[in-house]
Structures are given as C-alpha cells and as structure tokens.
C-alpha cells in the first residue's frame, strides 16, 4: 500500500497569462505505517500535492502510483478513493444529510455496498471517532458542537475503510484542547483501526508534527526541500528558512541550552523536555 510520487509538477491554468506553478518536480515515497506530515508556508503546494493522491487533481507531468494504481492514465476512481480517504480542511462544513447516520453512510453508499455492510461500517466509524452511536445517530449534524461535527465528518471518511488517510490541517480553527483531542484521535485511528495503515497530514503546527509524525516532507514554493524525521528537521534552522516556526519545545530547549541548563536541545515532546530539565537539575 505504498505511494510513489515521481517528478510531479503541476500548473494551475497553464494557458493563462499569469500561470501559477503549484508543484515543481516533486518526488516522494510513502510507506505502509508512515505518519507523514507535509509542511510548508501557505501557498507552497501542500493541498495541490495531496489532492493528487485520490485523483481529484489530474497528473499533468510526472508519475504517481498508489498501491499499484497508476494515476497517470485512466484509473478506477472509486477504487482509488476507497483506498485513499481524504479529510479536507474544516470538514464539518461539508456535512449535508438530515441525520448523522445518513451523512456518514454517504461514502459507503456510493461505493455500492449492501445495506447491512453500510450499517456496520457507519456504526464502527462513528464509534471509532469517539462518539456514542446510539445517542448521536438520529441527530442532525447541524445541531452538534464544532468538535463533534468535525468528528462526524472524519467518520464519514473512515466509514469507507481507507487504508491511507489524508488530512488537510485537521486541527485548523480549534482551541489547544480541541487540537490535541483531534490529534490523539488521528493517532488512535492509525493504531487501533486495522484498516488505516498510513496517515498523511498537512499541518502548520510544528508542535503536532514533532509529537505525532515519523516523517516530514518540507515544501517551499512548490518544490520539495526534503524528507526528514522530525529530529533531523528541527535540529537546525531549515524550517525557519521556509517561513515556519520551530516547535515550542525545541525553542524552549534552545533557550535553556544556551543558558547551560540542559545539554540536549532537540526535544520533540513535552515529556522529553520535562525529563531533560529534571536531568539538568541534577547536574546543576
């Protein structure tokens, strides 16, 4: 279930006077089990890149192969989209049905599954996103809270049982607690659901990237700067050169290190920095 992207380039309105080159010669591979973050300044082509993955954006030049499906020529869109689930930014704005159950069932229905299978999937998906199925199934999606709506929207994608889950800024517009809840949810989906093997997430929040991802692809003006592990990426100033901030933990650790309070400054989670400070305390 791997993704191979080779020399992918994309231009919006290639015929227009001011054509907009969104991607330039991007090559990237994603393996089973990866939790890949795609980061970059706004307008760097992240969304354009991920919409290629389930065929919403047609390949202009280059090559993409998703689990053996070649996206360059003709392909079975339904099959691809049931493999690659896409959660867009602010997915709660795309809810439409009268009840939560019907909305979540939209995807599976379109896949042409039978009623029984659909019901099982809907129930599983709603429970997987941490909601009470019996309580919520007959409610209108519009009477839910923002966080619940977002969960329902994610359930709508999960119900299609994708193997690759792609999320475009899943935590945008949430408060810190909401952000953490959604990220924990994504992590638990990846770890507990047998179906979701790979997660690809666009993020502007380096704290999330540092904490949850195992691989980071950095884009700048449509070009792939590189693919790193979070530890590699936040070691130096690469992200800052691309207009992004370092994770809070790394910034704090650098200050502390400069004052000689701790030894190590590439600390990616709060737990790590707490441990390091405790260790540093003993040294002092």
């Amino acid at each position: 279930m791997s993704i191979e992207i080779q020399n992918l380039s994309y231009t919006y309105d290639p015929k227009a006077k001011f054509k907009k080159i969104a991607l330039k010669d991007v090559s990237l591979s994603v393996e089973d089990g990866d939790f890949l973050a795609i980061v970059g300044h706004t307008g760097s082509g992240k969304s354009t890149l991920v919409t290629h993955l389930n065929g919403l954006t047609k390949v202009q030049s280059g090559k993409i192969i998703v689990d053996g499906i070649d996206l360059t020529g003709k392909f079975d869109a339904k099959k691809l989209r049931s493999k690659v689930g896409m959660v867009f930014q602010y997915p709660e704005y795309q809810l439409f049905a009268e009840t939560v159950q019907l909305d979540v069932a939209f995807g599976p229905k379109n896949l042409g599954l039978d009623e029984e299978e659909i019901n099982v999937r809907v129930k599983d998906a709603i429970e997987a996103v941490g909601l009470d199925f019996e309580q919520i199934k007959d409610k209108s999606p519009f009477e839910l809270s923002g966080g619940q709506m977002r969960r329902v929207a994610i359930a709508g994608v999960i119900a299609m049982r994708p193997e690759i889950l792609v999320l475009d800024e899943p935590t945008a517009g949430l408060d810190p607690k909401g952000k953490r809840d959604i990220m924990e949810l994504v992590l638990s989906l990846k770890n507990t659901l047998k179906t979701v093997k790979t997660v690809i997430m666009i993020s502007h929040n380096m704290d999330e990237v540092a904490r949850y991802c195992n691989k980071v692809a950095l884009l700048k003006d449509g070009e792939l700067v590189g693919v790193y592990t979070p530890a590699q990426l936040f070691e130096d100033d690469t992200v800052e050169k691309c207009g992004l901030k370092l994770p809070t933990t790394v910034r704090l650790a650098r200050v502390l290190k400069a004052r000689g309070l701790i030894e190590n400054d590439c600390l990616l989670t709060e737990e790590e920095i707490v441990a390091e400070i405790a260790k540093g305390g003993r040294h002092a």
Partner: protein, 281 residues
C-alpha cells in the same frame, strides 16, 4: 486568494480602461438609447466607426470580442429568420423569388437593420464590461445614483450591498470547488444517471453551500457590527473616481455622434435636406 475572473474584464491599461466608470456608464446607457434611433445603414456605419475606434484604443484583441458575441449568434439567426418568414411590410419590390419564398427589397433591408441593431446593442455593453471591473462599475453606479438619495433611496446601502456581493462571489466559488472535491472524495457521482438522479446528486453540494453562505453572512455581519458599522453614509473610499482629460473628449465625441444620429433620423437641420439625398435611406 486566487484570482477569479468576474465577468470578462480584460486588463490592458489602455485609455479606455482608465476612463472614469461614470463616463463609460453614461455613454453606454445613452448608446443603447441611440441604437433605437438608428434606422439607416449609414447610421450603423457611423456607430461602427465609433466602436472600431474604441476597440482599437482599448487594445482588446478583436478575436476576444468576437468570442464574447458567440452567445448572441443564436438570437441573431432566430430574429433574422423570423423577419424573413413572417414579413408583413412593404411588398412593392421583389428582389428574389425562389420556390415558395419571395423576398422583397424592404424585407431584406429590415432584416439587415434588425441584425445590425442586435449586434450593436450587445457590442456596446460588451466593451463596457471588457474595460471596467465590477468594482468600478458599482462605484460608478453609486456615484451616478447619488441624486436618488434626495428622494430617500438608500443609495449608499445599495452600493455596499453590491460591493459585498461582488466580494463574496470568488469566496463562494472557491467554497464550491472545495465542497465538490470533498464529496467526490466520498465517491459522489455527479456525472451519470438521468436528470433527476443528477439533480439529486447536487444536494450534497447545495446544502453545505447554503449553510456556508449563511454562516459567512452572519460572521461578516458580526464583524461589521463589532467595528461599529452603522450605515455607509459617510464612507470614504480609497480610489476616488476622477475625471481625466480623456473623459470630456469621449463625452464630446459621443455627443457629436448622437447628434448626427438624431439628425439622420429627424432631419431637423434647416440648411441641408436629407430627403434630397435618397441613398441615405
């Protein structure tokens, strides 16, 4: 935000583009009225020269303009056919007789005049939209409608409603793209099935679109309210409308054209008698 071409504005930065939108609006309105006064080919010839000059100065490629006329070809053909088939006017001079059809001289002339009238009727406003952005048009309209404020028409509010509407169109179109993509990701099928099935397939797009426009409107209202927006009466603007030297030139030239057209129609000048020049009609 990405650019979305609204209408068919075609920027070249020419003198015509730089004209005050009020000038262009006034001329366009008067132009439409003028077209109705023309009933000779000489008149249309004059208008044609005027329009050609405008097109040349505006530097808009002629092909671009012709393309925008595609929409009226059907209307044009239809009207011409109608006049040819159901003609009830002067049948004195037969020009052509073929099978069950007979064409009269006056019939052909009428046909040509109607075609010209339609053609020019569309071309004028087309040039306006090619050279003026929607925002400029709203500003111009607001300025021209100002006198209506005297009879308590809330012109300033209408103007702000219009400019907000214009501002929202690109956002909503972007939103629509996003929603379509999101539902497509869930394997929504908009392309197959009969009309009813397709109409039903639009529901997952229309409902989110509706809720999101209501949400946006509400958010905007709150934002305006929280910045103490009361009414737009004393609103100042960043780009003030200003007449340049080319505005009076255009107005004068246009008035001259209008005068000639009226003269051709009503023959009111004492020293030249148009009826003596038979070829004009």
């Amino acid at each position: 935000m990405r650019e979305i071409s609204l209408g068919q504005y075609y920027p070249t930065g020419s003198l015509i583009h730089k004209l005050d939108p009020r000038t262009k609006l006034l001329i366009t309105i008067a132009y439409i009225v003028m077209i109705f006064f023309i009933d000779t080919f000489v008149g249309f010839g004059l208008v044609f020269i005027g329009l050609m000059a405008t097109v040349l100065i505006s530097k808009i490629p002629v092909t671009k303009i012709l393309k925008s006329l595609k929409a009226i070809i059907f209307l044009l053909v239809f009207t011409v056919l109608m006049t040819l088939l159901f003609y009830g006017g002067d049948k004195s001079e037969v020009v052509l007789s073929w099978w069950i059809f007979t064409f009269y001289k006056q019939q052909l002339i009428d046909c040509g005049l109607i075609a010209c009238r339609l053609f020019f009727m569309v071309l004028g406003p087309t040039m306006l939209t090619f050279t003026t952005t929607p925002v400029q048009l709203t500003d111009g309209m607001q300025s021209l409608l100002k006198p209506l404020a005297l009879i308590k028409v809330p012109v300033h509010l209408l103007a702000i409603i219009m400019s907000i509407t214009l501002r929202f169109i690109p956002s909503l179109s972007e939103e629509t793209d996003k929603i379509i993509n999101a539902q497509k990701s869930r394997c929504a099928d908009f392309e197959s099935g009969n009309i009813f099935k397709r109409a039903k397939a639009m529901i997952p797009i229309l409902i989110p679109l509706l809720t999101s426009s209501i949400r946006r409107a509400e958010e905007l209202a709150c934002a305006m309210d929280s910045r103490c927006f009361k009414d737009a009466k004393n609103r100042t603007r960043m780009n003030k409308l200003k007449f340049g030297w080319f505005d009076p030139v255009c107005l004068i030239l246009f008035c001259a054209l209008f005068f000639v057209v009226l003269w051709l129609k009503f023959n009111f000048l004492p020293f030249v008698d148009l009826t003596s020049l038979g070829w004009i009609v």
